[in-house]
Symmetry: C2
């Protein structure tokens, strides 16, 4: 459930998602942001690599069935649960977002379920990251 | 980060985890609770099957390295992020818990990362559920 007053960082994030605006990502990310992939253990550090992952994710995830279904928010972070059908497979996941005092995102972590969805996203994100390299 | 006042449902949950008390689970679960596995798409409905899954999870997850590392809480639900090493593999996940007005858990969803961890848990949970059947 969205809280009465949404943090500006989340408002901007939702705007970018709604408009599929990958170019706006860099203004929202801190220089030292760290991205945690649902597939790989090793954290991806820095704005460039995080923007690259998120841009690829915009392409893979944001079809017309994508919707956020739950939002749990703390003072400095939020968990956004989503649901999307990709190639006929129901993908359920969370975007776990932490921001700093300036409202810039310092950590972005994604988890997915079920196993079938993770295998699908693994394959699709790999192909997308290859294509944009 | 734990909030200043923790909801009684979460206090009880943490007590059960701390004491590895699977017997106390049933008092905390609503009759119509639904469990969403990190591995399988199909929801598992009802107190008996949910208690069975959670009891198996207590055995698989709660070794001495298990710790909750983040807690984001709303009025009726919470997301608890955890970290645990199992067989030398770093398992990162979330317990997504929803409760009703009586404080009984009505939904329990688990997501895990990375892929290696999900494959490990898939195998271990399967073996544990077989053993307790």
């Amino acid at each position: 459930m969205t809280q009465a007053t949404t943090h500006p960082t989340l408002t901007t994030w939702h705007d970018l998602v709604q408009t599929r605006n990958t170019k706006g990502l860099k203004d929202l990310l801190a220089d030292d942001v760290v991205f945690y992939s649902p597939v790989v253990h090793t954290p991806q550090a820095g704005k460039a690599v995080t923007a690259q992952y998120l841009s690829a994710a915009f392409n893979v995830f944001f079809n017309e069935t994508f919707r956020y279904v739950r939002e749990v928010t703390g003072p400095g972070d939020a968990v956004l649960e989503f649901q999307v059908d990709i190639d006929g497979i129901a993908v359920n996941g969370v975007d776990m977002i932490k921001w700093n005092d300036e409202g810039k995102i310092v950590e972005f972590k994604v988890m997915l379920r079920p196993l079938k969805a993770i295998n699908l996203i693994h394959q699709k994100m790999g192909a997308m990251l290859e294509a944009t390299r």
